[in-house]
């Protein structure tokens, strides 16, 4: 018993690799904090380029999350509840962007929505509007990469929710839309919130698809990750400061999720 307590019940062949893994994951972030030029953080953040990139990042990630919610929640419902044939194929297709290198996603978006693209050409001829290299393109790229995170987590929440509540609602005269609005949605709201946070965090960090499809124009398409990459080449200290900001945002996101999980265990 006492021996068990001392080593936490973890056998050495598992303990050593586990500690290595922790070191590997935590040390780079600690290094970032250690190397940070704390005295320069104020002036760096105040510089116009940083504020611009940060604002653009927050706005585009939020818009991408909004679009993902609008389209992704209904898609998750279809995957979890409908009896359509070929749902498993649909699910596989929808989750491709999860494993696809974002750069490839950017290229694909460009080929379809670019001025010479299948849809983009038609759009350009009809309206004179070309999507690539605009802020809208940033939102599109981020949505493409981040929406599957939302869909998967909302679908999981829907599957975990007791579908018999929906039966009960039907016997009470609620059609499927009313049932969705008044029963299903509130029941899976925590799952949707968690999915939205994940989706937002993923959109905020998006790099590959954004730079490929939207380019790197300060003020219109240069988001924080792009600014970090660029700064590293000419002004490493600025890159560290920008990275710290993103780290802070990520930690805040994690705390938000943790808070939800903790809140749940307390109330349950």
């Amino acid at each position: 018993m006492s021996r068990r307590r001392r080593d936490g019940g973890v056998p050495a062949p598992l303990l050593v690799p586990a500690l290595l893994a922790v070191a590997f994951l935590v040390l780079p972030l600690a290094g970032l904090v250690v190397r940070a030029p704390w005295s320069q953080i104020g002036p760096q953040l105040a510089s116009p380029g940083v504020g611009q990139a940060l604002r653009l990042s927050l706005v585009s990630a939020t818009l991408a999350t909004a679009v993902s919610l609008l389209l992704g929640v209904p898609l998750a419902w279809v995957l979890a509840r409908s009896t359509l044939r070929g749902r498993s194929v649909l699910r596989a297709l929808v989750t491709v962007p999860l494993v696809l290198p974002p750069v490839v996603g950017g290229v694909a978006l460009f080929l379809v929505l670019g001025r010479q693209g299948i849809v983009g050409r038609w759009l350009y001829e009809a309206t004179g509007f070309s999507l690539p290299f605009t802020t809208a393109a940033v939102v599109v790229a981020e949505t493409f990469v981040a929406m599957p995170f939302l869909v998967i987590s909302v679908e999981g929440a829907l599957r975990a929710a007791d579908a018999r509540f929906e039966d009960a609602a039907a016997t009470l005269g609620a059609d499927r839309w009313t049932t969705f609005r008044r029963v299903t949605l509130p029941l899976v709201a925590p799952g949707i919130a968690a999915g939205a946070v994940l989706c937002w965090a993923r959109a905020l960090g998006e790099f590959g698809a954004t730079i490929t499809f939207a380019g790197n124009f300060p003020g219109t398409t240069q988001t924080m990750p792009l600014a970090v990459y660029l700064a590293l080449q000419r002004d490493p200290e600025a890159a560290i400061v920008l990275s710290l900001v993103l780290l802070a945002v990520s930690l805040a996101t994690l705390l938000l999720l943790r808070g939800r999980w903790l809140g749940r265990t307390v109330s349950a």
């Binding site: 509540f165 009960a168 016997t171």
Partner: protein, 349 residues
């Protein structure tokens, strides 16, 4: 004015094929073991499960048939009570009860007023602002009953409404349910595996086994004259099949039983376990039903010991714990069993 249904559903290897008819004001209990298809029938009546054939007719209106009518559940005038209440956890109790009227287009104020009135009727006045999670099991099931009845449905469906409750709560909720079912003007169908629920609440009982109706009648008839082993066990009788020849019935499994009433042709013989007496030696006075048997198992059952016996006639005897101790019986022991002919019920098969 009534509910009439013929439900045919394939559930894996089991074909459920059940016909029901329930008049207004009548409570029909569908009694049967788990997996017999009772809840399947109820889900078909509610519209939650499309059947493979048959028809559902409410007050003369086709609700489902295998030709062209398939009314979805939300357009049927039904109320349903589920085993584990299924109150919406994110709504208050009042909002739960008001949910039906709101869905059917009643104004918010009117729906709330109706909900409050119904909560009052089921004894939950003042608890309307609570969440379902803050109610006891009995209170939640009462709220679920109010939610099902508030829309004045033409058909009330109850799916094992008492089986999730503990014994004491079950008594009080059963009494409450009985009161509301007596007042209820529409047709009610109660699915249960508990014969006490069926006897206490229903005006008529159908027994479903393996997807078929094996017996139908009033609760008293079913309790007095069971037609299958399952029903007999439920109502605490031993059922023996045989052929009557005057006051003797030759049992299909061998042996014979003397009965007081004349019986001819294929009959059932029902014996109450408490009317069976056990002796270590052949009893004096030569009663007509005496068999040398063997004790298979003995299990305490309240104040009595239930003895399953094998031999010429498979019987069950309930003896008091005292006499069981005096007999000093162990499983496998030889014992004499006797039953008075006047204690044996006999009725045609």
């Amino acid at each position: 004015m009534s509910l009439e249904a013929h439900v045919v559903v394939w559930r894996g290897a089991l074909e459920v094929d059940v016909e029901l008819s329930v008049a207004d004001g009548e409570v029909l209990a569908v009694l049967g073991p788990n997996g017999a298809g009772k809840s399947t029938v109820l889900r078909v009546l509610a519209g939650l499960l499309p059947p493979d054939g048959g028809r559902v007719v409410v007050d003369g209106d086709q609700v489902w048939n295998d030709a062209d009518v398939a009314l979805p559940p939300h357009r049927r005038a039904i109320g349903m009570v589920f085993q584990d209440h299924l109150l919406f956890p994110h709504l208050s109790v009042t909002e739960n009860v008001a949910f039906g009227p709101r869905s059917r287009g009643v104004s918010r104020a009117a729906a709330r007023a109706a909900a409050t009135a119904w909560l009052d009727r089921v004894g939950l006045a003042g608890l309307g602002d609570r969440r379902p999670g803050q109610l006891s099991g009995g209170q939640a099931q009462r709220a679920a009953l109010a939610r099902a009845l508030v829309g004045e449905p033409r058909v009330l469906l109850l799916d094992e409404p008492l089986s999730a409750l503990d014994a004491r709560t079950r008594l009080s909720v059963r009494a409450e349910l009985h009161r509301h079912l007596t007042d209820y003007a529409g047709s009610a169908v109660l699915v249960t595996h508990d014969p006490v629920d069926a006897m206490a609440l229903a005006t008529r009982v159908v027994v479903v086994e393996d997807g078929r109706v094996v017996q139908a009648g009033t609760p008293a008839e079913v309790a007095r004259r069971p037609r299958t082993d399952y029903v007999a066990r439920l109502v605490g009788l031993v059922l023996l099949a045989g052929t009557g020849a005057g006051t003797t019935v030759a049992l299909d499994g061998g042996g014979a039983v003397a009965v007081a009433d004349e019986a001819r042709g294929p009959v059932f013989v029902a014996v109450r376990p408490e009317s069976v007496s056990l002796y270590l030696s052949r009893p004096d006075g030569s009663p007509r039903n005496v068999w040398p048997l063997r004790l298979v198992t003995a299990t305490p059952h309240g104040s009595v010991v239930r003895c399953d016996l094998a031999g010429e006639v498979a019987l069950t005897a309930d003896v008091t714990a005292t006499s069981f101790a005096e007999l000093g019986l162990a499983p496998g022991a030889a014992v004499w069993a006797s039953v008075k002919a006047s204690e044996v019920a006999v009725y045609p098969r």
